[in-house]
């Protein structure tokens, strides 16, 4: 039910554009391109801003990294075919980013010895490769069919990890060769580095999993609704088209379908063998089906069915059949009220009605079948009718609550 309003709303008021990393026309991770698209400015401006920010104390590098982690890849963009040239550009960009960062550090007075700088570069490149890898994993599904990149991806991940480990080891190695504390420290640093390095991958994996699960649930629900609509509504519509010349049959089909759909949408199936309200609704539905007349059922209160009330239900059914036959297509209504001492059912039709003094033979018989059934179980039946005013049958049954058998 909510599908229509949702789509309508989307059509009229587009959601504010989300920030995505763009895979189309990117150099490194698509952050600059994505930001440019989001802000509606030229990509060159964004890139310049990043470079300037990077020069201003390295903030640009940090910002870039944050965007890389937290902005999701644009899911609506098809992956552009990659070529060697682009890979080379990317490598260059990665290199310059790392070198730039290092130069900045040294310019800021945290000068590093070359023996430390080189391992740092190794760590940087390793980290970059791994983070790139996380992106590729997200896209791997599209490429799963070809399968050619799987080995390359694994190899790249391996190289990344190796670089990180070697780099971290090299940083710590010369300084702390001796002592168990130093060894422990080194192990800790490597572990921390690996965790840090792999965190974006985990974040992405969790995000992908959640997205996939909700998509699957949506798909299941849609399939269920589609199956139901197909089995019921579509089927009925086909039948209705085939019976266009028979208004009675069309009414019957439409009413039956409406009832069914209503039950499916608004309430769980009540047990028609246990409770009076559900039993009366079931009986009315059966008569509706058999005679092609619309019957409106209103029940106030409810109670469990016992022998007497089962008789009342059967009498009500007879009255309904009667009304449906003689009402000549006019509406029939049932009203039942459960009171502490009695249950009363009214069956009313807006048909031509009749003069109780000149009752047709068959009608009298039915009346007696209704009356007889009620009388046998301790209830009463009253019929009121006058020509032009329709007919009303009133059934009254005392409840058994006090004098339980």
């Amino acid at each position: 039910m909510s599908a229509t309003p949702d789509t309508a709303r989307q059509a009229t008021a587009p959601a504010p554009p989300r920030l995505y990393r763009s895979s189309d026309g990117r150099v490194l991770a698509g952050v600059a391109r994505g930001l440019a698209d989001h802000l509606g400015v030229d990509v060159l401006v964004v890139r310049l801003a990043f470079v300037l920010l990077a020069a201003a104390g390295g903030a640009g590098v940090a910002t870039y990294g944050l965007f890389w982690v937290f902005a999701p890849q644009n899911p609506y963009e098809a992956e552009a075919p990659r070529d060697r040239e682009r890979d080379l550009t990317m490598l260059l960009a990665l290199g310059s980013l790392t070198v730039g960062g290092l130069l900045l550090l040294s310019a800021l007075g945290m000068g590093l010895r070359p023996s430390l700088a080189i391992p740092l570069v190794a760590v940087g490149v390793g980290v970059s490769i791994l983070w790139r890898q996380a992106d590729d994993d997200a896209r791997a599904r599209w490429r799963a069919a070809t399968g050619t990149h799987r080995f390359g991806g694994a190899a790249r991940a391996g190289v990344g990890v190796a670089l990180v480990v070697v780099g971290a080891g090299a940083i710590l190695g010369p300084a702390n060769l001796d002592g168990t504390a130093g060894g422990l420290m080194a192990a800790l640093v490597v572990a921390a580095g690996l965790t840090l390095v792999s965190s974006p991958w985990w974040v992405r994996m969790a995000r992908d999993l959640a997205a996939e699960r909700s998509a699957r649930i949506r798909e299941q629900e849609r399939a269920e609704v589609a199956a139901h609509v197909h089995d019921s509504v579509l089927h009925t519509l086909t039948l209705i088209q085939r019976h266009v010349d028979d208004p009675r049959e069309v009414t019957r089909l439409a009413r039956a379908q409406e009832r069914e759909l209503r039950g499916w949408l608004y309430r769980p199936a009540p047990d028609a063998t246990q409770h009076l309200a559900a039993a009366l609704e079931r009986v009315a539905a059966e008569v509706e089906d058999a005679h092609g007349v619309a019957i409106e059922v209103v029940v106030v209160g409810d109670c469990a069915l016992d022998d007497r009330l089962t008789a009342l239900r059967d009498a009500a059914r007879e009255a309904l059949v009667n009304a449906a036959k003689y009402a000549a297509g006019a509406a029939v209504s049932v009203y039942a009220e459960v009171e502490p001492d009695t249950v009363t059912v009214f069956v009313r039709d807006r048909g031509p009605g009749f003069d109780p003094d000149t009752v047709p033979e068959d009608r009298l018989g039915l009346r007696q079948s209704v009356r007889g059934r009620m009388a046998r179980n301790g209830g009463t039946a009253t019929v009121r009718s006058s020509p032009g005013d329709g007919t009303e049958v009133q059934l009254e049954m005392p409840r058994q609550t006090r004098s339980a058998p």
Binding site: Y266, R267, E296, V298, V300, A331, Y335, E337, P340, E392
Partner: protein
Amino acid sequence: MTDQPTPARPVRVVLVDDHRMFRSGVRAELAAVDPAIEVVGEAEDAQQAVSVITATRPDVVLLDVHLPGGGGRAVLQELVTELPDVKFLALSVSDAPEDVIAVVRGGARGYVTKSITGPELAAAVRRVADGDAVFSPRLAGFVLDAFAATTDVAEVDEDLDRLSQREREVLRLIARGYTYKEVGKALFISVKTVETHVSAVLRKLQLSNRHELTRWATARRLV
């Protein structure tokens, strides 16, 4: 129903429903039955309804219960106190008690189902325009159910929480499918008196703060 006041006073109506086919159907039927009822505006969601109703100030709004953008209840919330002269008549395919009770308690002057015939709808619109209430058999049944006399007398300490014997009789007949005219005939009272009783019941339904009303509506969904 033929018991309309003789000189047909023009009534301006706004239709709020998200199905265009339904709107055009209602428009055509109203025009065929009672040309003095003029449809001055249409809206297909809650937001649009608020602006159309504010702009046109109709006598009666035919309000669908299920609407994109918060449903009929959102429209009522926004406008009932602001535009006291505009009357709302809820119109829905839904039979779910909590929907019905929610819009009526939200300020609608009545509730009819979409299966209502053209002449009946026109009569209902006129009745609402005159400040009376309109109860379908089903709504009457719900009210009888909700105000069932089974509650402890000690618990029911306000007049608002009780229906008078007469009101109960009127509701019972409406639930049995009687028109207002037939109710009057059966109880030997005038149609105007029937309308007065029904309006009194509506007021009780809207103002009663007995929490059983809400509890009843929620419990019904689970039964």
